[in-house]
């Protein structure tokens, strides 16, 4: 039987400790690889959610947990309800201003822009389109294609 050699033709001596280390490394690597892939799939799956709403959405804010819709005379926009400051969910509001109760940021519901800090970034806008075939508004929890992420 031939002994294992390296490229300098020197014999590779595989001690028991090294063997265990290699096996441990392979196990850790596979664990991390599986973790990465499973998590990535999960994240992707969550982002693919799609929600439908009938045409007669009322003017102003309609609140739906993860997002809210803001209807003006001519359009409907969807924004995430996650505060861009530190991730809290902003509370419901009856006016056009949304308040985050965690640290007091305020947002303009029509544009998602922050009106009062600490938040400085606008609310994330979601893709919201009208499906003329079904007469429904479709909201996808993704940034609209024509918007910067």
């Amino acid at each position: 039987m031939r002994r294992l050699t390296n490229f300098m033709d020197k014999p590779i001596v595989l001690s028991r400790k090294s063997f265990v280390k290699i096996i441990a490394g392979i196990c850790t690597g596979s664990f991390l690889w599986s973790w990465y892939n499973l998590s990535k799939d999960q994240v992707q799956k969550e982002n693919q959610s799609e929600f439908r709403h009938s045409e007669d959405i009322s003017l102003g804010i309609s609140y739906f947990g993860k997002y809210f819709l803001y209807r003006t005379k001519d359009s409907v926009v969807a924004f995430s309800t996650i505060c861009t400051h530190a991730g809290c969910r902003i509370g419901k509001s009856n006016s056009g201003i949304l308040q985050c109760e965690c640290h007091g940021s305020r947002f303009d519901a029509a544009t998602g822009r922050p009106l009062k800090g600490p938040a400085i970034h606008p609310l994330r806008q979601f893709d919201c389109r009208f499906d003329s075939r079904t007469g429904e508004w479709i909201v996808k929890l993704q940034t609209p294609k024509d918007q910067p992420a």
Partner: protein, 899 residues
């Protein structure tokens, strides 16, 4: 000797071993807790433990308190090591590394424990944690999915809390001490102490609907730092820098270690300071707490709630349909509430507070709010973020709460300074002559007066905040109330008074039957100066519950059609629009022309209501979103109970009965010709207004009065002596408000005020002030021409005989007053202005309202002179209405000229 023994007991072991004891106990209790805890319905399962499972409750308390002890002991242990420099005993760098990692997992265990409660604060903490993790470059998203899991879904957090975190902490401990078995004595003392605390103090639990993050206490400092920075990733950077400095601490020289430890110490002190700052000074929405806010933004550290082993043995499970509150264990069958306030969806706590996590009656009812609608409670009840926050904010500046119009008018009449701001609020009034006058006679009529008793408001009850209008006891609720008062033990399936938007006219009456008395007038009743004992006829007269006598004159045409106050006056008029109106006419936007326009009405699609509150109301009333409704000309407010059809006909839905009636467009006669273009609709269509003359107000030092604001008796009181009352057509005047308009007016205050007797007053004064009349006695057919042009009361002279005498070809008007002249201004008692005289200011309770000038009086009388011969509807008068000058030019030789 004694002291030493006590000290010995207290210092039974080092912080390190106490930490290990508590860690073991925490692990064990966590294992037990996993049996009743269900991470797929985390909140409900904890609530079930609190309510029905005393053993589970005890284990949960124990787990919580042991974790707290573990955390604090570790901090003390760290401090001990660092202060004595004994951390250098850890020679093996691998052990140091594992300990550093264990510290991170200690933080994670504490935070994940807080998250796993599943309440609103836990959810928000999870979101913050996830967002911080996510901002880590490259690995952020994956770390989130591993350690924070999906939102509203605690499986990953639970696994990491239960397994990973626990294993790492045990490994860290073993690496550190090579032993995890403390002395038996230590573990017994720690166990006994924790058991004692757990028996009496509940582990916290918040509410599911709340978006406010209230803790945990060790997270408050981070929260404050987050509040200061717009970029939370800096905080993460700070964490990583500190972590790496800690990791490399043993590698530094002695000096470096010393500096670093000092930095950690200073950081710790700073963090503690921040935590205390938040605990004591932060309020709602992370603003500095105002004086009216009580409690802390942090969840209470110690909630005294002894575990009750006498609770039912059988494990009850809360129905998923039922709001997760302990109150519903007894009260889920409560009937009587409208759909929007059903206990199954709203619970009881949202309105009545108390302790929703206890099924013990006494504990559950502790600190309950009996009358949630009182404005002193409203921020905790009706006006919370998830309920009617915006209404509760705007109603505070509404006139029904501030009574600002009354305060300003009264102060003006007394010659005291008035402001245009909030200081003219009835709740802020002081003790000047005017303010005491208000306290004795007027201050009871505003919503801020607290309702203190359960039961329907009676005629004499005023105020009560939201309940003043929205709480209705039907007979079932009244009999339930009787039972409750009699302490009947069979109380569970009872009837709650309705909380709804069906506000009947009766709710308005207790306040609006006074002063302008519009509630009485609307139903046709005029208050008169008779005593109940003087009455012989019960058809035309009525005795009010407060013994005032009223006489029937004529009710409003809208009342005849069955309409209610709320059919015209909607939410923004009654509860304010957040502005600060000076007087009632600034707050009321609805006008006759909105429902009775001359041409095509302005409309609005109901589905496009801009604010959620109006949408909710329209939804509750089941109005269709594709309904075209009327938009008010003043203020552009949609009248939600109207409907405009394709022919532009307007229909009005009665809000209480649902009956629909057509609302007719105005007659062309109303806008024909130039003659009456400046006339407000009310000038012709107000049938009558209550008028009283000859009032006298004096301060009687020896009379015991009542301070209506505080409800306390006062020694000395303002007393009002009423003069004569009439229910007759109004006087007309001119409202100058950009343009001139002829409007009805009524005596607002024709009175003498005897300020001399009031210690701070400056003497007696006489005033003849008329006020804008909002009659609420609308008649379909307008007044006749003569009733204005030939009537001395309408023109402002008061009652009497007005005659056009014609000794030759020049006619002359004469007036004989019915009432004697008042010595103060030489005018008849009921006049607003002298016959063909200019009036002397002040003449009105409002700026912008005045009586007719001499020129205007002459012009009115000139038409009146024609009417002495020509009938109202004659061709001549029709022509005069269209073009008076042309009519004058056509006068014949028989026509008299006015002098």
């Amino acid at each position: 000797m004694e002291f030493r023994r006590i000290k010995k007991i207290i210092q039974f072991d080092t912080a390190g071993w106490i930490a290990i004891s508590s860690m073991l106990l925490c692990g064990l209790s966590g294992f037990l807790l996993a049996i009743p805890y269900d991470n797929s319905r985390a909140y409900e399962s904890i609530l079930e433990m609190l309510l029905f499972n005393p053993a589970g409750n005890l284990v949960r308390n124990f787990h919580y308190w042991s974790s707290q002890l573990f955390f604090i002991s570790i901090l003390i242990h760290l401090y001990d090591h660092f202060s004595k420099s004994t951390e250098s005993n850890i020679k093996n760098y691998r052990t140091w590394l594992i300990l550093c990692i264990s510290l991170v997992f200690l933080g994670y265990e504490m935070l994940s424990g807080f998250i796993l409660k599943g309440d609103g604060a836990g959810l928000q903490a999870e979101r913050i944690f996830a967002s911080l993790l996510e901002s880590i470059p490259v690995a952020g998203k994956i770390l989130v999915s591993a350690f924070a899991g999906r939102e509203d879904h605690w499986q990953m957090v639970y696994v990491q809390h239960l397994a990973t975190g626990t294993i790492i902490l045990f490994i860290g401990t073993y690496e550190h001490v090579k032993n995890i078995w403390p002395k038996l004595k230590s573990i017994v003392i720690v166990f006994a102490g924790l058991l004692l605390i757990s028996l009496f103090f509940r582990a916290p639990l918040g509410f599911t609907g709340s978006n406010q993050i209230t803790g945990p206490w060790f997270f408050l400092g981070i929260q404050e730092l987050l509040h200061w920075t717009s970029e939370p990733r800096y905080l993460l950077l700070l964490f990583f820098v500190s972590f790496f400095l800690l990791i490399f601490l043993p590698k530094l020289g002695i000096k470096g270690i010393k500096i670093l430890k000092r930095m950690f110490f200073a950081g710790g002190i700073l963090y503690l300071g921040l935590t205390l700052l938040v605990f004591f000074f932060r309020g709602n929405d992370w603003q500095w707490k105002n004086s009216s806010e009580v409690g802390s933004i942090s969840e209470a550290a110690f909630i005294y709630d002894p575990v009750d082993f006498s609770l039912p043995k059988s494990m009850l499970v809360l129905s998923d349909k039922v709001k997760t509150e302990g109150c519903l264990v007894c009260h889920s069958a409560m009937k009587g509430l409208s759909d929007s306030h059903q206990p199954a969806s709203t619970g009881c706590f949202a309105c009545h507070r108390g302790d929703p996590f206890s099924s013990d009656k006494l504990k559950a009812h502790k600190n309950m709010i009996l009358v949630p609608g009182n404005f002193s409670n409203v921020r905790q009840t009706c006006g919370t973020q998830n309920c009617h926050r915006e209404i509760s904010e705007r109603i505070l500046s509404s006139l029904m709460n501030t009574a600002g119009g009354i305060v300003r008018t009264d102060r003006k009449v007394f010659g005291e300074a008035i402001s245009q701001k909030d200081s003219d609020q009835v709740e802020n009034i002081g003790h000047s002559a005017a303010d005491n006058h208000l306290r004795n006679l007027c201050a009871g009529c505003h919503l801020g007066i607290e309702k203190r008793e359960t039961g329907n408001a009676t005629w004499l009850d005023r105020g009560g905040g939201c309940n003043a209008c929205h709480l209705q006891y039907n007979p079932g609720a009244i009999s339930s109330l009787k039972k409750m008062r009699s302490k009947d033990p069979l109380m569970t399936a009872e009837i709650h008074p309705a909380i709804d938007i069906q506000v009947s006219n009766d709710r308005c009456k207790s306040c609006h039957s006074r002063s302008g008395r519009i509630s009485l007038s609307y139903e046709g009743w005029n208050e008169i100066n008779l005593k109940p004992s003087d009455l012989s006829d019960s058809v035309h007269f009525k005795i009010l519950p407060d013994d005032r006598v009223v006489e029937f004159v004529q009710d409003d045409v809208h009342h005849q059609k069955g309409m209610n106050c709320i059919d015209c006056h909607g939410s923004y008029e009654t509860m304010g629009d957040g502005q600060h109106p000076l007087h009632e006419e600034d707050a009321v936007k609805v006008q006759c022309i909105d429902c009775h326009p001359g041409n095509i009405p302005e409309t609005f699609m109901l589905g496009n209501l801009p604010d959620r509150e109006s949408q909710m109301i329209a939804g509750l009333r089941k109005y269709r979103p594709d309904t075209r409704v009327v938009l008010t000309a003043d203020g552009n407010r949609p009248l939600v109970n109207t409907l405009v059809d394709s022919l532009n006909r307007i229909f009005l839905t009665n809000k209480l009965t649902g009956e629909i009636q057509e609302s007719k467009h105005i007659s062309p006669a109303c806008y024909k010709g130039k003659g009456h273009q400046r006339l407000a609709c009310e000038s012709c269509h107000t049938a009558w207004v209550p008028q009283c003359i000859g009032c006298h107000n004096s301060y009687e030092k020896s009379t015991i009065g009542i301070d209506m604001l505080t409800g306390k008796p006062t020694s000395g009181s303002w007393i009002e002596y009423a003069g004569k009352n009439f229910g007759e057509p109004p006087t007309l005047g001119v409202k100058v408000d950009g343009r001139k308009q002829i409007v009805p007016a009524m005596p607002g205050m024709i009175l003498t005020i005897d300020k001399e007797t009031f210690a701070k007053g400056k003497g007696s004064c006489f005033l003849r002030l008329f006020a804008p009349a909002s009659g609420h006695t609308t008649q379909r057919i307008g007044r006749s021409c003569k009733s204005c042009h030939n009537d001395p009361l309408a023109i402002g002279y008061g009652r009497g005989v007005l005659k056009f005498k014609a000794p030759g070809s020049i006619g002359k008007w004469t007036f004989e007053p019915r009432f004697a002249q008042n010595g103060n201004d030489q005018l008849p008692e009921d006049a607003w202005t002298g016959f063909l005289q200019e009036a002397k200011a002040p003449w009105s309770t409002r700026t912008g309202l005045r009586p007719f000038t001499v020129g205007e009086q002459r012009r009115i009388l000139e038409v009146g002179s024609c009417l002495t011969c020509h009938e109202d509807k004659s061709r001549v008068m029709e022509l005069a209405l269209e073009d008076f000058q042309q009519a004058l030019n056509k006068r014949c030789k028989f026509c008299l000229k006015q002098q």
